[in-house]
Amino acid sequence: MLVKRASDISSSEITSEHTYHNRREFIKTASAALGIAAAGTIIPACAPSVGAAAEPQAKKGQYDTTEKPTPIEDITTYNNYYEFGIDKSDPARNSKNFKSKPWSVKVEGMVKKPATYNLEDLIKGLALEDRIYRMRCVEAWSMVIPWQGFPLANLIGRLEPLPSAKYVEFKTLLDPAQYPEQSRKFFKVLDWPYIEGLRMDEATNPLALIATGIYGKPLPNQDGAPLRLVTPWKYGFKGIKAIVSIRFTDKQPVNTWQQQAPQEYGFYANVNPNVDHPRWSQARERRIGEFFKRPTLMFNGYAEQVAQMYSEMDLRKNY
């Protein structure tokens, strides 16, 4: 499969008029709530005469939310990808020359065929699907993202893990030449490379996706090109980006954020409005583009698909 580099996409191609209109919509709501009555005259684009071109609607899949997708401009400029920088705008700015091709992924540990694969070979023949998922960040904001990718279960099936394998561990690329934060000497924000993990039943849950695209286009660098994990019932930090290693193991992996602050971030990181982060509430979230906060749903609204995996567990302890 040909993996297009995200830099092949010009910004004029991805910023639709709809997006543009949508942002003005936000300012209008915000201004109204702030009591700025004259905002409509200050911002001419607020005029309703601006034609909103309808976003081409993909066919609705089994797990798709019908909520309005977040504009691509927001999905590609508001990112937590600490390798590229701490501020939300850093990844878009610092990822322009990221080399996501050629790309190889090392498959290791308790697996029948441990090997290093060319990305094209690894995912050849896996059918791509569109999935419109909610994404809930542990920082209490959320988006709706139209991903493109394949179920992680399909890849795992092909790799044939041994029966002894109970967990999958993923690693992000370690390359200080490309990731400015990885070469920081003092006040290192995290231990590199970034590590994430899933229990085997979580990894093979039909919702778990390896994404290679957004809005039908190749995954932009700042969103984790060329391939990343998407587990919509978990907080966003579980969605490890730019994966270079998949390791099957019988020991529960220590994911990066858990290692950084074990009392704040756990292994499971399931979205749970009833278990607060020690420093802030998880009961509500701000959907990007909306003014008022909305209630956060158990398992981010995916309880039907995932709740049974945790029925025996104390989610207060296993956060």
Partner: protein
């Protein structure tokens, strides 16, 4: 007619400069230059400028002592009030934009979350200072007591830095930087007080405001 001096020009210039950050924020908001989460941007912007104004305010006295430029103390009150102003806006973004006046939630937050407790402490400490910043209040309290009260600013600034440190997820470089700067500014005062004592000067006697116009 009041005697003309350079402060009658300098003061309005400094005042306008102090409005610069907010003017920039308003411009960025109206021209769609904030991020996809503008409420978070506004909250963080007003928060960081509160800390910066704390540092500016607390730099006036060291600057004055090092340079002997005594009249610089005339703009200290303005800096102090700008600190309070930004702190108030920061608090309002939380009360209004973030929690939307859900006071039960806010009270829960203050009790439960140390970083919010620290932030509210900083604001609470600033409140009496803003109220008693007028000439009338200096007269009412007397210079010595007024000065003692206004030492609360050290604790307010420290609470602000702690608030920032506890808020950060993992990048502590910036809060630690502000902590270090505050440390230097406070150590300078300690060093100066010790030196005065050794020279047999009454502690801080030279610093009491002689005229209200010096505040």
């Amino acid at each position: 007619m009041p005697k003309f001096n350079r402060w009658s020009i300098l003061k309005p210039v400094v005042f306008l400069a102090c409005l610069g950050p907010l003017a920039w924020l308003a411009y960025a908001a109206l021209t769609d230059q904030l991020s996809a989460n503008p409420i978070k941007d506004i909250t963080e912007f007003t928060g960081i400028w509160t800390l910066r104004f704390f540092m500016i305010t607390l730099s006036v006295t060291p600057l004055r002592r090092m340079t002997g430029w005594n009249s610089v103390v005339r703009i200290r009150r303005m800096f102090g009030l700008f600190t309070f102003f930004h702190g108030f806006l920061h608090l309002m973004t939380y009360v209004w934009l973030d929690q939307f006046f859900m006071f039960s939630e806010i009270v829960k937050d203050i009790m439960k979350r140390p970083f919010i407790t620290a932030g509210m402490t900083a604001f609470t400490l600033m409140l009496p200072l803003a109220v008693t910043s007028t000439k009338k209040w200096i007269g009412r309290l007397g210079g010595k007591r007024w000065q003692l009260l206004h030492r609360l600013v050290y604790f307010g600034a420290a609470a602000g830095v702690v608030h920032y440190y506890w808020f950060e997820k993992s990048d502590i470089q910036r809060p630690v930087g502000y902590g270090a700067l505050l440390g230097v500014l406070l150590l300078f005062r300690a060093w100066h007080a010790v030196r005065n004592r050794e020279r047999g000067l009454k502690p801080a006697a030279a610093d009491l405001p002689k005229h209200a116009s010096q505040i």
